[in-house]
Subunit: 344 residues, 4 copies
């Protein structure tokens, strides 16, 4: 490792919507920093704490078993003011006064934009760690929190299936991900949902109630009796699952029940994949600092630690898994009759 | 056991909203019947199956490990037509044609009203088994399904707490129980919710937004930073949690997130209390039949198997636990300042 | 409430094996004390902390959301030395020096014996709160921790069933409860285990390998193919589940897999029943202090808060539920062929 | 897709130790076959069913929601006899008599050796799908079942941590994986275990009690009070976790508790990663058949579906993740004092 200068003291913060595994990432940052003889302070409440100089020193004993828990022990927040010029200069002044050599930002794209903004006003190294359930950051195969969100949504869908099957009912379950369908596609595939509506697909072929009713009827025809469970990404229908369910009932006399998972997708024990990813990326962030890296996000590609320019993380996009889309729509739940391709 | 006549063949059905533990009750009915040398048939889809003569023979091997699963393997349904006179006579004719000596109904108050209606037209014994998550049947300390619903709601509230605390946020979580606050009170107590709104309390002192805002502010004052989680029973606010959250935000600039648990409260592995209760009551139902009992519900009072007249189950009411209400409202989350009672 | 004298300051400690819900009990003690204007200090590490004067002040903010977690934030320990005369006098001196009016002990029978010993040397009020997964304290329908232990054991048995059924295998799962079979009986009933071996039953009719083999064969005969799961309370077989499984394999060529759940039965999120019970008993403990009660345990009987003399809690015994034993052994998994009782 | 001949009928079986996600793989095979107009039969009990001609026809409705459950609805078994020459010829005759064009084997390395053996005697196409919790098959980044096993082991370790921390105790938790440390390393990293003993590491530097005691003492020195949790892969110590715990206690007066997770690692709801992987590989297996592939395993590398020669799957090895080993041993829980590398 070629090291540009001696790193003595770094800061860390969690910013934006919290994600399961943020605590594991924080723990890894603190343990790795301790290993390399670096002091760590943590700003509380994200960028707000950076502006308010609200911080505390973090030692290994402060983070020992926090990887079991979702949320973030140093609190997170959305900070509108941080977009302003003056905020970045204030933050830079605070970091300099505290002799901070590098800053680790655990958060999503909004937080990384903030980091980039700050980098225009501060000389220290800035490293991003991808913490968001939405999985919508370029430069890493997965973000910290995504695996847990899928697990919780799948668990809810499993529970819905039990009751849906008992009553031969139709359900619409609204999951998080207003601009990215990763949680929707992952949980729908894992739970065997009959239908999934995702932002990426809405652009080309938006959901219509009549098409939905046709699909429901077709599935019922094929299967005789049974349930129909649809996963709806948030913000893909005016009024969400509740309104769509009412419409199905009112317009088509098709009784339908809604479920709005909301923030339960952000809590509970983080999934192993999130804890392991967070542990690797937290250590990697410290080692990127020691390598003199700046304005990059620590990521994981094909099981290898990588780094990508911060700007790429929001300017480029990871596509949805096309194979999963194909399986969901063409193989398992086709809208049209099976083509019986094996007929040559 | 004094037995009025030889019981040879009984029928069982699950009716109304499904409840976790219905399968365990069915299993217990089938295993106990087998033990006593009684044949069992099960009507599918509740009373609808009784009208349609849709049934199957149930042997021990058909129910061996179903106690692990929610839902009901013989399906349930709500049957509007069963309220009619003609339906009861048709059902009676079907039961007679099949030589059924007794009928076990696993369901809630609506199902028991149907059973009572049928009893006016059929001579066989009718035994109810209390299966509903709402816990709103008189004559038993708990209904089958209630413990699971509380567990799931509590688990969701725990997850909400993680993220609420990370962001110092207010949440409104809507739980089931439109006419009975058992799930709301149980889950709120178990999860340490700051506030709970229940149908029973709404009658005397309905929720107002301004009182809610005052309570939120008071809690924030006392605790400094932190989260505020409110449990809202369904149908206690127009538009539910979603509408109330929007109102808090719009009228009081108090950001607030809603969560609508819906039917996830009816799925997943049934809680041990539900499985054990269902096992005891399923056996008890068979033994009540052998004792010649009729038009009663099998219940559990202070850990003893009891039976109560079917009509009592909906005409009388179990009250909410007054001690839990007192603890929730007066001790843990008082609206007014603590009275410091220890001052004499 | 008639109050003997003004209570200003109390102490609390958790002692012996930790139990899920101890934190919820601690929280209730602290919140209720605060409500009544009483200061609380907590000794860490049980009686050891009392001897070492290791304590901290507890305020509501210290316990806000701890009810979600198992373990005990004030630590527990077993303290051999506390049985000695000198220990009790030292403890009494410490309590007096700290102006403690009353002491709340959250623990099991060993801890209550310690409390009784201390009561011979100290004038303050002593109140026990039943915290043990074993459920082996007289004077309360359930102890704090028991419901969680049964939930975890049942969950493990469910998982075992999945694989046992896939391979038509025999399993022996060892659960906690060396002197009391509550966890064994509860989890076996909830999971539909084919067999359960409990300390209470061992006295009259100890387990033999040949009888076990006969039962396994009989169950296989009746069911054709399938799994056989046995719940074994700890200390009921030399070498436990591991040794018994080896013996079945070696002596009878009957492949069998062991599983030793151990302390996982003490962790994870406490079950709702434990959190609710702990909340009620924690408050009740404070109110018993205000009523001038001494040397009693706070308990719950038929959903009513009660108190019983400390000595009764270990000198008397709650029996196992005889109805569950009957169902398990005679109705669901009889050793002999069904008697077909319905033959008169 | 170039297709060698028209595929009309295939068979599928699950073999060897069952793995969570086998049902999801079976479902995907059946749904994809239906999509392409191919009939499916399933042999029950693995190769034994193939020898006994015990099979059933599988239609989409038979597999609809089985992806929720562990185990395998078509049962699995280990079949010693299948290693013999005569068994392979019998199996080939059965497959020919049933007009089977291709056989899908869902299982681990033993099952794939059996498949290879069969391929010497039968002309039909043979495709493997990697179903084993051990993750020890070359040619795929993960096997079906591995993610669930890690989740369950981590969950158990979390529970152990709760009680270990409450009592400042040492625990040894034995996990599956006698020849491969994937479950051990994954769960230890995810749960923040202080120590992990894996088969791969044992070869070079076998565990000694004295080294273990030193590490425990070192961790206690650094942290003051607290718990120490060790993950032990099965078969890495004579007598396993139980014997090692006794030795620590007897020889070093270091109280220590064992836990033997055993087969609970194979049950419960499969993790989303296993269900998604199984869905992709089940479909891929059918498409490999249509492409005329033979004697290959369907695998997933860097999120791409691949196929590898069956023999490679056991002759080559996936290494443990070296970065996780480094983090576990050198960064988070170093045996020696931190080198403070940041000192140049």
């Amino acid at each position: 490792m070629s090291v540009s200068k001696k790193i003595q003291r770094i800061a860390v913060l969690t910013s934006g919507g919290d994600a399961p595994g943020m605590n594991a990432a924080l723990r890894a940052v603190v343990l790795a920093a301790d290993h390399y003889g670096i002091e760590v302070i943590a700003f509380r409440h994200g960028y707000q704490g950076l502006l308010d100089n609200e911080y505390l020193t973090m030692k290994p004993k402060d983070v020992l078993h926090v990887l079991q828990y979702s949320g973030t022990i140093i609190k997170s927040a959305r900070c509108q003011r941080f977009k302003e010029e003056s905020a970045a200069t204030e933050a830079a002044a605070n970091l300099e006064a505290l002799n901070i050599d590098a800053l680790v930002i655990i958060g999503g794209d909004g937080s990384f934009r903030g980091a980039d903004h700050l980098a225009n006003h501060w000389q220290g190294q800035i490293i991003g760690v991808p913490g968001t359930i939405d999985n919508d950051l370029y430069g890493t195969d997965a973000t910290i929190g995504y695996a847990t969100a899928v697990t919780i949504a799948m668990d809810a869908l499993d529970k819905i299936r039990d009751t849906a099957d008992a009553m031969d009912r139709v359900f619409i379950v609204e999951v998080m991900g207003r601009e990215a369908g990763f949680i929707g596609l992952g949980s729908a595939t894992a739970a065997g949902a009959e239908r999934v509506v995702l932002p990426e697909l809405q652009k080309d072929k938006p959901l219509t109630v009549s098409a939905l009713v046709k699909h429901i009827q077709r599935v019922k025809e094929i299967r005789g009796e049974g349930s129909y469970v649809m996963v709806l990404s948030e913000h893909q229908w005016p009024g969400g699952a509740v309104a769509l369910a009412e419409q199905l009932d009112a317009e088509y006399d098709l009784p339908c029940r809604p479920c709005l998972l909301g923030h339960i997708q952000r809590g509970g024990p983080p999934a192993p994949a999130d804890r392991i990813l967070a542990s690797e990326l937290g250590v990697h962030a410290i080692e990127l600092i020691l390598q003199g890296k700046h304005r990059v996000m620590a990521g994981m590609r094909a099981n290898q630690c990588v780094d990508v320019p911060l700007r790429d993380t929001w300017e480029k996009k990871n596509p949805l898994a096309s194979n999963l889309l194909r399986i969901q729509h063409e193989i398992f739940n086709p809208v049209k009759k099976n083509p019986r391709m094996n007929t040559q």
